[in-house]
Symmetry: C2
Subunit: 152 residues, 2 copies
Amino acid sequence: MKFFEDFHSGDVFELGQVTVTADEIKSFASQFDPQPFHVDEAAAEASPFGGLVASGLHTASLFMRRYVAVILADASGGGSPGIDRIRFLKPVRPGDLLSARLTVLSTRPLMGRPDFGLVEPECELLDSKSEPVLSMTIHSIFKRKQSAHQEA
Amino acid sequence: MKFFEDFHSGDVFELGQVTVTADEIKSFASQFDPQPFHVDEAAAEASPFGGLVASGLHTASLFMRRYVAVILADASGGGSPGIDRIRFLKPVRPGDLLSARLTVLSTRPLMGRPDFGLVEPECELLDSKSEPVLSMTIHSIFKRKQSAHQEA
């Protein structure tokens, strides 16, 4: 079980791989982001992307899946106040195999909630050339170990 | 058809309403963010949220649905380099009726792409008390009218 104290500036967590099919791209986009290059293969071919690409929020959600699977599912998570600096760096296409990586940028106690601390990570999805296709900072709150011990 | 020149600092666009069911919350979260308070009603009741709440990326995606429906579907959109300052301000629960609103913060030509301009909006989902549950800035690129005329 991961606590605030388990994260240190510079720590790198490899979160495993994720991929996405054309059907998944179209299904997500038809619900949330039905722009032609996300939902229609022919229109996507004619677009500047030259083919179907995933919605940016879909790509961000693919990272989230790995973050939950490897860290948040087994952590004293206290939620997230928000996300900053989401950058869509390269298009994500059907069949792309993406690696999720989290690098801790900084950590600090939360002033208003003494039992919790804030972790600021650089969250990245990397393609097969190890080039980032997406980066973002998901502000992440974790419980402090000391408080857990006090409660026990 | 909307062009870069159709957006001015201070402009407000009402983007209509959106709601979400418990099944939709659980379906999104089971794919992308399977934390207990997003996928399991009993676990959510026992959590600090006191009941099922939508994943933050799901809530952001609900805004995107309205942005596409009212603006991007009929615009000379040139994509988005990213999103900043996503803030999850209040939990979103099943049945909440949310209003989407976009306020233009600033606009500027894009140095490297003279046919395009960048619009920086404050994007908000408001609850029935008109209080924001989510805010973010989706950096948005639109084609300039002049370039469209030159091409015509």
